[in-house]
Symmetry: C2
């Protein structure tokens, strides 16, 4: 039976590229076929595992320009038993797609709000009067093009080719070092690799509680590579924290840190240990 | 001459309500008239001060459900000399606006992505087949209604009344405790109040650097009410931090903390001290 991989859709999004990369290396290693299943939201993609519609789910977690993908963090906090199997870093190269003869003819630009934000300087200089219209995904933006020579969309080069649409300008991101980190999640206990992730809410809103929690790792020389706060959604000013550490969950130091951390936390979730894979820009 | 107040527009958004609240108390205190100037983006609203088009700028900074408004933090980091004059907490009550005779007739719902996200459970139960379409603001969503009895928009009650549109359902937020914090910013040095905000990037990406920076405040019993990380946009994994403390910038303990903090920071920005005003739900 092929392995079922859920990803944020539709076909042609950057999440699909990350999913495809994982699927192909899985196929090589396990001699097992795969099926990709696009879902229209991050929540649905992750719930596909709980609903046993998928073995693996691929979702974006962080972009180097726009920061955290908060829907991924919030959904992970709510769901149970999801473990990170791998992290994938993918370079993001945005392309202006249009059937217009030239830039002068373009009056509207469709894309996902993050893509519009990531190209805002380019748009201001090259299409100063164009109206910017948000869509649910970079690929959905392409659906507005076929009949209108005055519209353009921002998407990946892969999506433009997939839907056989002409590219008017390439690499239009304001920051050339634009990349997105994805998490490959599954229900299997994940314990290989030198990257680990956890999340916690603090026991009480007491002065210095977060600092005490972070000191537990610092005292053991465990490096924190990232800290992200999210609202608990109970009241303004009440947060939970997502933390990435550079160590394996099975390490003695990490085990003892997690034990001590329980003295300060109301709820503590571990998402396992995993390796990080970087995809080359040409992929 | 009236005081010029820039806010995230258009007219009828929650930012305008926060701006109006500040303007009216300013008018009472200083016997000075005011003018509200709506801008279409957060960046333009804040730049209005630098461009001397406005004395005051009002922007959202954090919602109790959706978390930080990242565009506000990123723009503040880039601009110079903006100081927080006041924080305003406003209850958010979403309303379904439509000329449709009943819910059954509705096929599409327009709103800002944050509003759509904040009502997602209500929408799933009451409008399970409706297509959700993102717009640039809750008020912009109302422009899609006038001729189409199959469309609805999510906006504030105030906007519905302002544009004279019927409300089909009120208080449709999934979390009743939904509120947004706004910052009232200006060029004047701000030094009154027991809330202060600052932001910094760390000197080097060395193990425990963030913990050391936070310990400086903990060692002086200065309570951190919030920490938010944002990408520096240089490379993935490189962050800057926004911190709110419960103390006045002129306090001896804070002054000495800021001095020590400079040993760990590459760049340190202080946004001043200010008071927090809460607006009642009926306002």
């Amino acid at each position: 039976m092929p392995i079922a991989i859920a990803h944020l859709g539709p076909t042609g999004t950057y999440s699909e590229t990350a999913a495809l990369n994982y699927a192909q290396s899985w196929q090589k290693q396990h001699q097992q076929d795969f099926e990709l299943h696009p879902y229209s939201t991050i929540a649905q993609t992750l719930q596909a595992i709980a609903n046993q519609q998928a073995d693996i789910a691929v979702v974006p977690v962080e972009n180097s320009i726009e920061g955290s993908v908060t829907m991924t963090l919030d959904t992970l906090w709510q769901l149970d038993q999801l473990q990170i199997q791998q992290a994938v870093v993918l370079p993001i190269v945005h392309t202006l797609v249009s059937i217009a003869p030239n830039l002068e003819a373009i009056q509207t630009v469709y894309s996902h709000p993050q893509a519009l934000a990531q190209c805002q300087t380019w748009l201001r200089i090259n299409l100063p009067t164009a109206e910017l219209i948000p869509t649910n995904s970079t690929t959905e933006a392409l659906q507005h093009l076929s009949q209108h020579p005055t519209t353009a969309a921002i998407s990946s080069e892969r999506a433009a080719k997939l839907y056989d649409l002409p590219m008017l300008a390439r690499s239009i991101n304001d920051h050339p070092d634009n990349c997105t980190r994805f998490w490959i999640l599954g229900a299997d206990l994940s314990s290989e690799g030198q990257h680990s992730s956890l999340a916690f809410s603090l026991l009480a809103n007491q002065p210095g509680a977060l600092v005490k929690a972070l000191q537990i790792f610092a005292a053991r020389n465990i490096n924190l590579s990232r800290i992200e706060s999210r609202p608990t959604k109970r009241s303004l000013g009440d947060y939970l924290f997502f933390i990435d550490i550079e160590a394996n969950m099975k390490d003695m130091a990490v085990q003892s840190a997690l034990l001590e951390l329980q003295d300060y936390t109301e709820k503590l979730k571990c998402f396992g240990s995993y390796n990080l894979v970087s995809i080359a820009p040409s992929a």
